[in-house]
Symmetry: C2
Subunit: 461 residues, 2 copies
């Protein structure tokens, strides 16, 4: 009641008439969600275990089952007795359900005849499919631009909502900061059906709503918050992964680059936490162009949650005329910058650290060292590629590898070989302007150059 819910109380959990009345009252309530409170007895009417915790955590046991059945007037055999009355009720429910389904199909058929275009759109939406041309209007970015990937995501989202009416989402009270404030878009609410939702400071509630929306179908739900606050929604995100629900989560302010808010707001272990969770796809794009591709991956995915990990700070837009195409995002990792001459070492980076890797590779090239830069926005997508593709990006013979990621090193041994190094952060962050935090904590081209040289010496030894 304090939260504004419509609260109904049915005294006795076996009061079928009372329950039916409560359900009717709930359906009649058009403004508020309804909570129906029933009082029941666990393991009722088991003679000794009724209302005891044992009835929750363990089977009743043969003797207690025998006596319970006796009390209920049921026969001891068969083990799973179904009373005639229950069977008859179920039979009626089956018939009612079949009639309702036929009614629905008839309605849909009449609707399809009367409104073929709208009906096709509805069926597409219910299938989770994307309409033709949904991605024809996505923005492109020029190497003269400099923008945060959260800003690139905002530009993508602005176009998407115009062409993809099923896309509904918002933020946990961080719309402006996460780039999910869509200019002119109406807010979804009891009186209107706008594409944006204001969840308030309720990450867990937001993620639970996304799950419900995805399970219902017909819409493509997304939510957003700072990446560090993914901690608050982890239980619901796990359920999305387990239930194969196609929800999209935007986590911005993704590293120690976010500025003075300091360690409470700086995710360090969150990439590892998300990557370790089965059936979650994590994408950490390196620039605005990769962000567009990351959104495409997220929207095409129908069997589990996708997390877009975005920066607060501005990043330069990588010149694709001289670098690998951002199409590679869908493969999880790709060659962004090829080594001049002999391929001697590989720099692997994600997100904002890809720029650091590119600068380091340039410096190493100037010293005559052939270094490839691999952008690896998604471990999960890369792991799902055929072995030949993976070998083409990270050839087994090239053992000198350095990974750069402003987060826990945990797990990077998978890609850097035993001769390699990870420039990572196995401590909490620090409060400082983003550039300074990067420099002080070692995420600089100089540092990467030194690491590549160390690793080259080690792998030759």
């Amino acid at each position: 009641e304090a939260y504004g819910w419509h609260v109904l109380r049915v005294g006795d959990g076996n009061d079928l008439v009372g329950i039916e009345a409560a359900l009717k009252a709930a359906r009649a309530e058009a403004e508020r969600p309804t909570l129906v409170i029933l009082r029941t007895h666990i393991a009722d009417p088991a003679p000794t275990k009724r209302d005891t915790p044992e009835a929750h955590g363990a089977p009743l046991g043969a003797e207690e089952i025998r006596r319970t059945k006796e009390i209920m007037g049921w026969p001891a055999e068969p083990a799973f007795h179904v009373p005639e009355e229950a069977r008859a009720d179920l039979g009626r429910a089956v018939a009612t359900g079949a009639a309702l389904e036929t009614e629905w199909h008839d309605l849909l058929a009449r609707y399809s005849e009367a409104h073929p275009v709208l009906a096709a759109e509805l069926k597409l939406a219910l299938a989770g499919a994307l309409p033709d041309g949904w991605d024809a209007h996505l923005p492109t970015f020029s190497p003269t631009d400099k923008l945060a990937t959260r800003q690139a995501s905002a530009a993508v989202l602005k176009r998407l909502v115009e062409h993809l009416p099923t896309l509904i989402g918002g933020s946990a009270d961080l719309a402006g900061s996460t780039g999910t404030e869509i200019p002119g878009a109406a807010l979804f609410g009891p009186k209107q059906a706008g594409p944006t939702v204001a969840w308030g400071i309720r990450e867990h509630g937001m993620a639970a709503c996304l799950n419900g929306m995805a399970a219902h179908g017909g819409v493509r739900p997304y939510g957003s918050t700072f990446l560090v606050f993914a901690d608050y929604l982890r239980p619901s995100l796990r359920l999305a992964a387990l239930s194969r629900l196609p929800v999209i989560l935007i986590g911005t302010h993704d590293s120690i680059g976010l500025g003075e808010d300091g360690p409470t707001h700086q995710p360090v272990e969150h990439l590892a936490m998300l990557r370790a969770t089965p059936n979650v796809v994590v994408l950490r794009p390196a620039d605005a162009t990769e962000t567009v591709e990351a959104w495409k991956v997220a929207l095409r995915r129908l069997d589990g949650p996708t997390v877009l990990v975005l920066t607060r700070q501005k990043l330069r837009v990588i010149d694709r005329s001289s670098h690998g195409s951002a199409d590679g995002v869908r493969c999880g990792a790709y060659v962004l910058r090829e080594a001049e001459g002999e391929l001697q070492a590989i720099l692997i980076a994600t997100g904002s650290e890809v720029g650091v890797a590119l600068d380091a590779a340039d410096r190493l090239a100037a010293e005559g060292l052939g270094v490839r830069v691999v952008s690896m926005p998604s471990w999960e997508l890369f792991a799902a590629q055929p072995a030949e593709y993976r070998e083409s990006v990270l050839p087994a013979a090239v053992r000198a590898r350095v990974a750069i990621e402003a987060a826990a090193s945990f797990g990077w041994e998978r890609y850097i070989t035993e001769a390699g190094e990870a420039i990572a952060l196995d401590r909490f962050g620090a409060s400082a302007p983003g550039d300074r935090a990067f420099a002080e904590l070692g995420f600089t081209p100089e540092h990467a150059v030194q690491a590549v040289k160390r690793v080259l010496n080690r792998s030759r030894a």
Copy 2:
């Protein structure tokens, strides 16, 4: 009010008289926590940014600051003007604080003279130190016993509360299941000071309370729940790690071995999540004896949270007369079973999978293969050991290594070398009796034997 709090409203956040009255009323309330609600204006009295979100996310800017100071009647310079009135008030607060501190020291001195034993106990408790003999009464277990590590933990806890009065804790409504129900111990509450707390189904609230208790000092707080529900308390656990608070968290039902509750209750990614978090020490003991040692580590740690990861299912107690001493727990990993003859391969396991590794090693020994078993209850403690110790447990020259852990493989590359293998679980679990889940998902001695043979072939190639 709905939660039973004492709620006070002060209309105007600048009403100092009203605030003082509310604080006095709060202190006078002996039964309930108090919430004082103030209405304030963000950035008051900035002329254009007052009551706007910009005032939250960015500095006001020079011109707005100039005009704000003008409105307040403050001089433009210096940048950080302190009004005389504030300075005088602070001066009084300093004097009051100094007087209160002197008063406290005097009181403590008089108390120490009148009650030297109690005072010494109090000082010890405030320092977080453990009294002499605190660990003299801990249980020991025999190889003929078979018990879950949660049961061993319950036995430890029962003895600890008798000899360590500062140990206060409980569970999030899972006292029986997590082994934190202490027979005869009074429940902590408004009317009594028992050592156990019933937090209800509120993992986040429990972990926040542990942080507050640890920050206050004088007590050693612990909380417990199922490991999978650590998801619900992650934000508070992260804060404990960041704030270096010595809280102890017990996470039971730690793998797919827990039984039919199925994947919603089976942690898979949680060990990785905890290990990736800076300043968290995770301990997953292999048997009852290691559980005793894990508790000792947890209680001796004063600079961050420790998580004890325990089984629901019974495990045999390892015979320490023929195996490595459980003292090794404090080093994070140790040689539990030495290879007969030449050391050819190493099996590394944690928790309930150590038994699987031991069985596999026996079978391999019967085939003439020298396999060492390393029990690795804590990655963090092992990583903190000197290089010589680590080399003695996992010699670099022994490249044939197999890790066994019923959880995500994520991160295990750190210990198994490129020639090695991890028998792990990169998917969600399944609902089945524990033994069957272990067998179906590959956590068997047979499977480990095959993996060691594969790895031996590979490392020789």
